[in-house]
Symmetry: C2
Subunit: 222 residues, 2 copies
DNA sequence: CGACCATTTGATATGGATCAAGCGATGTGG
DNA sequence: CCACATCGCTTGATCCATATCAAATGGTCG
């Protein structure tokens, strides 16, 4: 994958790092744009974590495959989200495009060397990591709940992130949702059907959810 | 609690922050020592997060109570561990002493202002936050597994942290373990009994576990 | 149209929760 | 110093939510 990056034709040349901007904005200026097809791997578990990524268009999942074949989805990243933050030298998760789209890529070492002596940048790195920590903590809280609560919580979270008042377009499959919530695909499907039956949501199509009664969903979201 | 801190007799006066030391070491030098009794609250959910803490002796749990009364334990902190890292201005978890012990307390603002212009310190803050992120990610992976796998994983983790080759002294109750693993106290107890029956562990007393067959435990720990 | 894949729906099995009781250590008062 | 209350833990019986196995439906693309 790092090989692909080096030879990518649409990679823009790095310029001086603008200290005043937010790290997220800086991605646009110094990063290289890469396109990914549906289900294409962006990086793999165990590979050296050389880059940080920002979703430009499309959607990305990170995941880990346990030694018995079960897959755990760590997170979904939507346009504007930064991913690839790692706690060590190597990636502990894999990342794949959930739908075709583009990602902006920045060399981690460029950021690290800049951070040396740039306290604003350091602060931004810390904030990004803390946002990721908050996400992981929220994920833990989801996983101790009932299937209904997990699905309701997931829908509310996605709705908040997509900022399309009361409706959600799910870019990921039922299997992705199941692996994120620690449920089976059948339970996710049944739970959605049940939420529809109780008129908390409507399902005009499988990937499209209308939140009919956010209060009811929020109440489930203990 | 912050009131207690101000009037604590054994609080040592802050001195200049030594930039060359690790953040963990610095706690000893600039922090105030506070003692806590069994089950005493160190801070509460929703309170402003003014301090960072390092366990000197004893053990601490962080937790959150959901609106239906369920409790989720976020983490256990043993001597040497730093806790109180927060992603916002306020604590999103509560912290309590699991057994009586002492904690070193450092004002967060002192660290933050120092970090401005001290890249080593910034790096240390980032590393601490990343360690916490890794922990939370590991917690997510535990919570999707079976009861046996959760308990086995928990024991191996505790054993690794206590560094007493092949034996674990559990400072926390079965209820604490259950609330950490997202199980009931009965299931934790039964699972331990079962692990003992299959001679993966021995239980000379309720809070003392001997790891008889770490290979078997690790195999459960998918 | 027909093949394929994602999703839903149905029937049954099961792991862990719940309800309930018993046990063992620790500590207290008579 | 022992009887007994208390608390944390274990064990037993039953129930239920979710997994598993299996089949039907529906949407998409050649």
């Amino acid at each position: 994958m790092s090989l692909m990056l080096a030879t990518r034709p649409n990679a823009t040349a790095p310029v001086n790092f603008p200290a005043k901007r937010s790290l997220g904005d800086s991605f646009e200026l110094i990063g290289a744009l890469m396109n990914f097809a549906l289900n294409e791997e962006i990086y793999g578990e165990g590979e050296p974590a050389e880059y940080l990524y920002k979703v430009k268009t499309g959607c990305v999942r990170t995941y880990k495959v346990l030694n018995d074949g079960r897959r755990q989805v760590g997170a979904f990243y939507l346009p504007g989200d930064i991913f690839g933050i790692e706690t060590g030298a190597d990636h502990t998760f894999s990342a794949e495009a959930i739908c075709s789209g583009a990602v902006i890529v920045v060399k981690r070492s460029a950021i690290a060397s800049r951070a040396m002596g740039d306290s604003t940048l350091s602060k931004q790195m810390l904030d990004m990591t803390m946002a990721e920590l908050k996400r992981a903590q929220g994920h833990v809280l989801l996983l101790i709940k009932s299937a209904q609560e997990r699905v309701a919580g997931f829908l509310l979270d996605m709705a908040a992130r997509e900022r399309k008042q009361g409706e959600v377009d799910l870019p990921m499959s039922r299997q992705d949702i199941a692996d994120y919530l620690g449920l089976t695909i059948e339970t996710v499907s049944r739970t959605l059907t049940h939420l529809e039956a109780s008129s908390a949501i409507a399902l005009p199509s499988a990937r499209r959810v209308l939140l009919r009664n956010q209060g009811a969903l929020a109440r489930l979201n203990a």
